[in-house]
Symmetry: D2
Subunit: 341 residues, 4 copies
């Protein structure tokens, strides 16, 4: 349930505000010199610390520090499971106290409460995008393994809102933020150097596993490859030219190319205002589970709402390294880069 | 590799022209009275036997007959694995003899040959869409199990080429066929009556498993749900209203809604003509693996090409019952409708 | 649940008296020329057709005929799943009709009825040793794959009752049969030519998987390797010399050696007589589920009991090829003899 | 590879002398109040801190402290993965430095070096019995879950060397220790309160999973249940009375009873002396991988050997809580005590 992969597996743990998040990566062969700088850089991208000036208030946050628990001796892998953790040092549970009795719209708050009867209301718990930091640590090790085999994985933002020109992305994000709103985005990922023959013909198609991996990223609402959704308007004579690197579920030796769409960040300044107005006017409260909020929230809590607003305007920006990481986990699993093969 | 699911599993076997295709469905509880008419009807839809007059030459083909090998006694399930087969009665390997030394563009012919060093060239082998007949048998049993729990799964064609008005679909398909070409389509699937709480928060999200299942269907190039790819242009304030029935990887009790895009059928009259002209003019032969063809094909083989043209113009039409079946397999797996729970 | 293995998998189906039993073997590479004679010989050993004259009435039975459904073309594997069936041609459900309302002692009759609410009372259903015929077909293909790598798997009976001298085995079996009783046995299996390094250090130890496989054989009550149970009386200085070919869960390149103990056949002439006397004297009927029997059985049914007695006196004899087959499935899974590695 | 279970899973990490060992337990429902005292007591038993006075020098060691990383809030489970670690605080790598270039007989040293090309020579790495401390933490949570369902798991030592009278165990252990040698033992485990119906008929038999789990414990050389190995000498009429709580792979509602045999501790004072004499007399060095030792060990290292001798004389003593823990993990997996069922 919290493990990913078959022979190259990653197990993730941690709530957004538990003592730590982290993971166990199993299947890395012995003898790999871990590139810690690469991991730091990917974590910074995921944390939004490398964003364009002014866009992300996260840029000033302290970096995530990885503590290596096992599987690594003097920076070199042992072939045993690599366990690591990242302390949740800046946990401020009081910021989220008001969420104890409310459900944010478009978030997993309600489904969690329903499923488990309880939940870690402190910032989303397992559903928080913070969990993806552990994926990035593991995925970057996988990326390094691929790189040593001459395989390169590169993702980038190709659409923000309706804009497809990267020069316009910052402007679109700024405009949405200025409206107290958020905006979606599309990430494209390309893999070069991948050998032909990866993937299984029927259920375990390469594209099935990539789709599975991408859809497991928070806020991802769709996956396509090759001609994809846009290809529906193509004739067969045209579409045949766009394989996306996989045919019959198996890599064909050409460049792999797939896309993921990310919805706008669900928590916006606007949605928080709506939440506040509901609290002020209890009679306006909607009983629908996805928008319900407990009217017992005091005004003190309300004032915290605006301060605790930490989400980004365009979550797709920070998803880029996560897409690369998940793709790398899938590919390493298929390549069976495990110690015993 | 040819099995699907965790506690409710389906194992598929058979090449398009081996003695039989079939499968083993494991996890069906004892005591289910199998609705054989429902299976027959779904198989007919998948086989294209129910298409609009004139569009599909398959309408006149003999129906697929299911032979039940185990797990069923007097039409009632025993709780043991249900094994079944469908004979490949109309196998005409000679129709495909010419493919022994050629690779069809946009097909898995080349990737299979590369991966396995050999392949069943008789009509696509495992890659043939014929394999999906076994999925439909198993999936329809799953649909029946869901139905007895008040859960309904319904898929339909919502786009063909650029047309989104169902009244225009036949016309678009006919036009493409008249041009010796093919056309893509989008299938939407809705699930009602599904309880909240299905799915796991991190990797085993409900949408991850649905995407995995759909991407395993032949010719499927993309999956999205809720606001999906079109939602990229929405602001967060709008997108929050379109959950697609899942939040944080878990069903929220509202209607599930997802889409799959199918590429145009790769083998078209046009692509076969191109193949023929290559054979006539060996110097025009392209060495790219995806379009290569062995020049040793005799004229006799060429004449077979046009006769053996069996593909449909819009494969999305026949994908509809396969989408329903795969969705049902995923949902039954999550519902753990297995005998021991 | 009815599948075995991870990357080299076997799925089994069929009740003892359904239309057929069979299986799907997935992971065999393309290009293997199947040795059908080897399969026939192993099936004959399992069926008891090769037993010493006079001991087994099964010697005269018709051989099991394997029908190959897919994955094999002209006797050569295609790399696709190999599906096969064995018809239950001599099914005589009427022989077992009386079991519809009774539970044989030491059999799975009662646990099945409890678990599934129904069961295929015709001869044990899935619990019948007949299911192992499918394992032998799959396992013999695995044995052939191992043999081509220079790995040999050989099992033999090393104890029957208290006798450890093979010259005495027939006599012990005959004596037990003459008493209307049955007797247990121990099978030892040795593997030579196995490379060092197979197995995983912690949970997926080689011996864990071998034990799992052996304990899944009907009537197997124990597994040990190396110094085993007898080694408890050894001092460490002595036991260190008996590794059994595995250390820390990993093969060490020396000969693998393990043992399986099989209980005496639970259905004996004596137990059937007891069953009969219970029927004659309903007041002697025991309510314990494991020995209960429905008193409504008519005398006509009772007369069938003695005729339908088909079990062997020492089931360990026929377990020998099943032990070899299961060991081979485990080893092929570890060797990842799958098509894509 | 380092994960155990299907729907209730445990992932283990850590070498004996890495920064920490620990694990991730996934599938514990929300709302369980963890009994930390029970975990402490089980860890103490596993560490040998509760042994009879004089037998174990470990009695004075500091207890293992569990640090809870996630999945638990105020002592109550959240339904999310429970991650924990135990620091290797008393790591003294210098004690093991001499092992860097030698392979202890009967240990996994050689197989690890062969398999991975490297190994954590500091005290056995992953092969060290220290890894079982993590299993005991996870297993004790599972035991608590079972206990709340009225299911009790109890293991105890039933044989040491040739002694089967518990009153003699201490004496036998003392005698072996006095000889500088070690001795094996048998642990019997009984489970009461288990509902009937657990287990699957063919491969996933309850006894198969129990055997798998037990054989994964360090030094375990065999598993049997019911009449077991001793039952080979029974006639069928007698053996039928000893089901061991499972028939046809499925629990029958009676008490479950199985045994595990543990070999004598491979590292003994005697084997270390032999190692020393080899070092003193390089010409006596044996080239066999299982007994080889690097002659470059200095006398300084030799003196460390006797001091660093930490193993117990009878490892079966400390295996008792590990047997209970592994049994509990298996049973919870079968009971699907996971949050979503």
């Amino acid at each position: 349930m919290n493990s990913f992969g078959t022979s190259f597996t990653f197990t993730s743990f941690g709530e957004s505000h538990s003592r730590a998040i982290g993971g166990v990566l199993d299947g890395v062969p012995a003898g790999l010199h871990i590139d810690f700088a690469l991991i730091r850089e990917a974590l910074d991208r995921r944390a939004g610390r490398l964003s364009a000036a002014g866009v992300s208030p996260r840029a000033k946050r302290e970096p995530d520090e990885v503590e290596w628990l096992s599987g690594v001796l003097d920076g070199v892998t042992l072939g045993t499971p690599i366990a690591f953790l990242i302390r949740n040092r800046d946990a401020r549970p009081e910021d989220y106290e008001w969420l104890k009795h409310s459900f944010r719209q478009g978030h997993a708050d309600w489904t969690y409460q329903y499923k488990y009867g309880t939940r870690d209301w402190r910032g989303g718990g397992r559903a928080s995008a913070r969990e993806t930091a552990a994926r990035v640590v593991a995925g970057t090790i996988a990326l390094q393994m691929l790189s040593e085999r001459g395989i390169s994985v590169h993702a980038e933002l190709v659409q923000v809102g309706e804009a497809t020109d990267p020069a316009c992305f910052d402007e679109v994000i700024r405009a949405a933020g200025a409206d107290g709103d958020s905006v979606g985005g599309i990430v494209r990922c390309c893999v070069t150097g991948l050998p032909a023959g990866l993937g299984e013909p029927v259920f375990d198609k390469l594209q099935s596993h990539l789709a599975f991996a991408m859809m497991s990223i928070n806020a991802c609402k769709g996956f396509d490859y090759g001609s994809g959704f846009e290809g529906v308007a193509l004739r067969g004579s045209e579409a045949n030219r766009v394989s996306g690197g996989m045919l019959g579920g198996i890599s064909d030796g050409t460049m792999l190319s797939f896309r993921c769409v990310f919805k706008p960040t669900p928590t916006t300044a606007r949605s928080l205002s709506a939440l506040q107005s509901q609290i002020t006017n209890p009679q306006s409260q909607i009983t629908n589970p996805q928008s319900s909020v407990n009217s017992s929230l005091s005004e003190a809590h309300q004032s915290i709402i605006s301060q605790s607003f930490r989400s980004d305007v365009c979550i797709a920006v920070r998803a880029v390294p996560v897409v690369e990481s998940m793709a790398a986990l899938v590919l390493c699993d298929f390549l069976s880069l495990s110690s015993n093969s």
